[in-house]
Symmetry: C2
Amino acid sequence: MSTAKATLKDVAERAGVSSATISRALNDPDKVAADTRAKINAAILELGYTPNFGARVLASNRTGTVGAVIPTLSNAIFASGVQAFQEVLDENGITLLIATTDFDPEKELYQVRQLLAHGAAGLLLVGADRPWTTLDFIEKHGVPHVLGWCAHADSDQTCVGFDNAAAAYDATQRVLMQGHRRIAMISGECASNDRAQARLDGVRRAISDHGRGAALLSVTEAKYLLQMGAEAFVTAYSTRPHPTAIICGNDVLAAGAMIQAREMGLDIPGDISIVGFDDIGLARAVHPGLTTVRVPQSEMGRQAAEQLLAKISGETPPPNPELQTEFIMRGTLAPPKQDIGLR
Amino acid sequence: MSTAKATLKDVAERAGVSSATISRALNDPDKVAADTRAKINAAILELGYTPNFGARVLASNRTGTVGAVIPTLSNAIFASGVQAFQEVLDENGITLLIATTDFDPEKELYQVRQLLAHGAAGLLLVGADRPWTTLDFIEKHGVPHVLGWCAHADSDQTCVGFDNAAAAYDATQRVLMQGHRRIAMISGECASNDRAQARLDGVRRAISDHGRGAALLSVTEAKYLLQMGAEAFVTAYSTRPHPTAIICGNDVLAAGAMIQAREMGLDIPGDISIVGFDDIGLARAVHPGLTTVRVPQSEMGRQAAEQLLAKISGETPPPNPELQTEFIMRGTLAPPKQDIGLR
DNA sequence: AGAGCCAATGTAAGCGCTTACATTGATCTC
DNA sequence: GAGATCAATGTAAGCGCTTACATTGGCTCT
């Protein structure tokens, strides 16, 4: 075995054919006669040949990669979406480049640059809220992209996600239907986060649409961490009169709130109802089970991949799929004590 | 603006220098005079030039990517490790290629091939249990790798992780010290999973080393899903006499077990103690808090990246770091009722 | 049997960059 | 002030593939 890496030419000599034929055998096997192919395969095996990635990319102008730029893998909602995204790419022989932003729009632009510089043939981004420069840059590159975790009926962008505002509106209605009137929200940080913003908007709108004394007593923004949810609960609960229900921007915040509520000797849902968002594994694990909104994470990742692949191969992608969320009633939501029977 | 993408040559003409100088300005700026650099930058901006990835790779033989092949992103323990891994790579200007195996060793080999074919300069793999062919293949490629989530004092491999067996041994000792003698284990599936195997071994050994009537009543293997943990609990609890403590292969299984225990009207930890492993967010969110073993997920990802980068740049990497686990006492472990005071 | 066709293969021109080596002035040294 | 030194830049040879186009020879068709 030689030290130098085998090249196409080496394989060609060994197999007694031209390098073009080798290339064809590799990229488009049925253009090559079966027996030639056999010889070639033998030669490849003997030489331990692996195509040179750079040369292949340079000559063909295809990298076989797409990129995903997401806030963080540490949040299950992104991790499992990306997981599904990757699975579909994999089925199509595409490899995934990944970069994270920690919710920073500038870092997102930076990462987009990175991935495009690495030859990503398409891009998955999270949400629709970003400086116009970012999308501009992507478009100048002529690389298609899809936006995940959001839905925008108005926009001409390809969005694969669900209507966060509508889902939050719906969830809030359920809370109101239980009889709650004094509601607080623990929201994710809304700056540069249209999903958090939309959820907050949905809650706001549902409450004001409802009227009849329903009020959003407070909105506390917090980072998506258990500890932050706990701290935010203190603030959210501190109004007089207390809220009877707290709607949280996601399940992690909700779980944090639950911990703190229990800490403060409050019964859930007796003294305070809590509603989450996302339905990650956590929601079923806590006790009582967390009432929340299920979002189709995997389905979203899958469809995002399909849309992106379609765009890459130049097909007009199917119209934005509308993914449905589902309100999941568990134990943390119940009618408020003091209002029972008052209707 | 022309339709065709600008190349180095275009920029060179525009800036009135040779293409070599542009290349240098890009890759090794202080080899170029400041004013020349300024002209070049202007030209680049005007033309919207981006280097061609393939050409760069072909000419320089460097892709600036590293690959990670992991079981799944859906499990927080991998997701947050990879997150940290990616952050360090990012600081070093390296981009991450990601592929998942769903715990299938054959798929792992396939993904390793994929990533190497995409020019990964280094590889992160999970655990040490795999067919020799896989590592053989990697070595033939001359690409360095590190194994994460495991520790192997004996091996010549670079492992970045913790001693799962020792951590399990220690946790089991704590359980024994609380007075438990009838212990059951809900283990992850051990086939092709040395981490699960090691944890099981640690539990086994601790119990047999202890003697004095301590017994491992049963071992139930289950996939790492909440639901599977719940189902496994039924089996694990069904022995007569019942176990007084159940040690779980990870926190997800433990949380599933907790759900089922509550379902069956059992008090935790009054009727049954439960211990988890990993200390993911879930462990603090459940009630009572899950007693578990904290593993330094992020630290591991970080160090794995550092080791890998060191190997890639040809340095002799620092010796395998020994990462410490920590037993986290929370509410799900307490002395067994019937043994209180009996010593 | 000759024209026409087609599948299989060969020929060779790049793809756009990096980098070893060559060149050029300017600055320094004694 | 001549030679040495050095920073800055230019020249040009690839890197290892893909692919448009050319060639070949065996078939079919009439």
